[in-house]
């Protein structure tokens, strides 16, 4: 089966477009002045967004998703765990936190504890724990973590969180970045295994890390050909780690909009996707990839891709054909998602049901029509094999592990 998650960024729905036209801002990130955040509107937006996720939960989505972002008008969830906590009591299904930006946190213990709290409150098997490094721009905000160390901190925080959850404390944890004499999480999780997901942009070592641990890998933002290459890479890595990857390990972030007809869907949707590209996911290359965040060669490719892939100016047809969005009548959306699932072999579709400055009524309509007329057919696609997560190299010594790198 294919799982369909209802994802949300909880963006700020307005932008100072006049200011953008006067070149006042380089992007919605880092330095976009917070005088443009009106907390009264924010109050309304947060509550509408929660209502959207709660509705998606009731309508049968496989999970509702929250995530962490800082200091921008793109995503207003500095703590995804707070939003998850609210949803814990107002929803019945799974809550996917995609994810906590562990590299940016000084205390991965707190992430471990908070996820354990959510797991205990919800009674187990409802929380999915995504781990991310944080978008490059966010390294400019806090200035507490060197982008050169982001990746290694990420791996180390991961190890610490797993030990905090599953090993009897107190234990010592001596890492390069986190040095803890008494790791002793209260509460401990109720779930035997909290599923870990890795949303990422496709860097090879993260793909490898995910494949090694059998963690589902979700490609965050990329073009369809690149996404397919990333999945091929995942499958190839899985083979090297001694198993065959299954579809539930591959996830796709995807923007979906359903209305009565194709024409009406585009009429209702188009301005919001353009708003998203122009005024929300509009960071500059130097913000997306601070020095050392990725290798020099990868940085260059990524910078060029940012320049070349000008999605904001594509025609609706081109956006659709290239797989950036799926928009249309229920029949069109069903057909296209079925094609995409077959073409990519994914088992998780992380559906953005609200995007850009899309108002509440459209997001609710989208969730409603999609879940009534499309969702169940998509959920039937493919097989339902699940693999137990865990380190495929567990028990191997350093020299043996080195052979895989």
């Amino acid at each position: 089966m294919t799982k369909v998650f209802s994802f949300h960024l909880m963006p700020y729905l307005d932008a100072d477009i006049e200011g953008y036209n006067q070149n006042k801002y380089d992007s919605a990130w880092v330095t976009y002045p917070n005088k443009h955040y009106d907390p009264v509107k924010g109050h309304q937006y947060y509550n509408e967004f929660l209502e959207q996720l709660e509705y998606a939960d009731r309508m049968g989505f496989d999970a509702v998703c929250v995530n962490e972002h800082h200091q921008n008008s793109y995503g207003n969830m500095p703590s995804p765990n707070i939003m998850a906590a609210m949803l814990a009591r107002s929803t019945k299904g799974k809550i996917a936190i995609l994810g906590n930006a562990t590299s940016l946190h000084s205390l991965p213990q707190r992430v471990a504890e908070e996820i354990a709290m959510l797991d205990v409150v919800t009674g187990g098997d409802r929380i999915i724990c995504g781990l991310v490094r944080g978008i490059g721009a966010e390294y400019f905000n806090f200035r507490n973590v060197n982008p050169n160390e982001s990746k290694d901190r990420f791996y180390e925080a991961h190890d610490l969180i797993l030990k905090a959850w599953y090993e009897d404390g107190p234990i010592e944890f001596h890492g390069e970045y986190f040095d803890v004499p008494f790791l002793n999480a209260w509460p401990r999780p109720i779930s035997k295994q909290i599923p870990i997901f890795l949303p990422s942009t496709g860097s090879r070592d993260t793909v490898k890390f995910a494949a090694r641990h059998k963690y589902p890998y979700i490609v965050t933002v990329s073009s369809l050909p690149t996404i397919k290459k990333i999945y091929d890479d995942y499958r190839e890595q899985a083979n090297r780690f001694g198993y065959t990857a299954v579809q539930s390990q591959l996830g796709l972030n995807h923007k979906i909009y359903v209305a009565e007809t194709d024409a009406k869907a585009w009429e209702e949707f188009e301005e919001h996707i353009r708003f998203w590209y122009k005024y929300q996911i509009n960071f500059k290359g130097y913000q997306a990839f601070p020095p050392g965040y990725i290798g020099a060669e990868a940085r260059q490719f990524a910078m060029e891709a940012l320049v070349n892939d000008n999605i904001a100016d594509m025609s609706p047809q081109e956006m659709f054909d290239k797989g950036y969005v799926t928009v249309g009548s229920p029949e069109t959306v069903k057909q296209r998602l079925t094609e995409l699932q077959k073409e990519t072999g994914v088992g998780v579709i992380n559906a953005f049901m609200q995007i850009g400055n899309m108002p509440h009524w459209k997001a609710m309509k989208n969730i409603d029509l999609f879940s009534r007329y499309v969702l169940k057919d998509i959920q039937k696609l493919g097989d339902d094999t699940e693999l137990e997560q865990g380190d495929t190299l567990a028990g191997k010594n350093k020299e043996e592990v080195a052979l895989y790198y």
Partner: protein, 262 residues
């Protein structure tokens, strides 16, 4: 005329250019790669044995994994001087190289004959805004470095090859490694008193990266220091005002400044 060599210093291979005869002068480069062809260096080599060093992690010098802040280079430069059998040297550093030279002069005062700091990184002056070098594109960065219009235009318009971009990215990552979390040494107001070498501070009056107010901070806190501010000059006086900067350095090293000026 400079000889380029890769030398094993301590645990890494470092890229060093050498030329000239005379008292040893070690140049600690800024965040870019060393360009040994500029006239500033060839003139220095007329009176000194000059060592141009690419700091480990920058240019072609290998990265020292555990180096995370400027003062960590102190051990590399101790090994460097030992490698070349240099007991005491004239130490000249620019920008981040100036910061590294300062840290070395604090911890190894007995190995520094004279210290020359050209727009060194590392000061904090209350109320003086230092722009974030990393938060901008090529044009933004060039404007922080150059005051000279011609050099500025050249830096903005140059079409870099992929290799050049990769090298620049590598150098920027190496710089970020040292100054990302904090762009100054908060202990300098205490530590700078341990600099005992006669020190010459050179600053471009129009430096937009590290404003000229920083030069006064260093001048006030380093006891045997003189300050030379060069008019109409940005962050790279040795490139923008090569002759004048060279003259100041040469005069300083040949003790043409009275001790009383310190």
């Amino acid at each position: 005329m400079f000889k380029s060599e890769i030398v094993q210093i301590g645990e890494v291979k470092a890229h060093v250019f050498t030329a000239g005869q005379g008292e040893p002068l070690v140049w600690l480069n800024g965040a870019g790669a060393v360009n040994p062809d500029i006239s500033f260096f060839s003139k220095l080599a007329e009176n000194n044995k000059v060592y141009l060093v690419e700091n480990p992690g920058f240019g072609q010098s290998e990265k020292i994994k555990w180096v995370k802040e400027a003062a960590d280079y102190n051990y590399f430069y101790r090994d460097f001087l030992d490698h070349y059998n240099l007991d005491k040297v004239n130490l000249v550093g620019h920008s981040i190289g100036g910061r590294i030279a300062l840290e070395f002069a604090i911890s190894h005062p007995h190995r520094v004959e004279n210290l020359v700091l050209i727009s060194p990184q590392g000061a904090y002056v209350n109320g003086v805004k230092v722009p974030d070098y990393f938060h901008g594109d090529k044009e933004y960065q060039a404007k922080l470095i150059f005051h000279d219009e011609g050099l500025l235009k050249q830096a903005i318009n140059i079409q870099n090859t992929r290799e050049e971009v990769a090298r620049k990215d590598k150098n920027e990552a190496a710089l970020a490694r040292l100054i990302w979390e904090r762009n100054y040494n908060p202990k300098f107001p205490v530590l700078l008193k341990y600099v005992t070498a006669p020190t010459c501070i050179i600053w471009g009056k129009e430096d937009r990266l590290y404003p000229v107010e920083h030069s006064i901070f260093f001048n006030q806190n380093i006891k045997n220091s003189i300050l030379q501010i060069i008019e109409d000059t940005g962050h790279v006086p040795h490139i923008e005002k090569s002759e004048e900067t060279n003259r100041i350095v040469q005069e300083f090293l040949s003790k043409q400044y009275s001790v009383n000026t310190f």
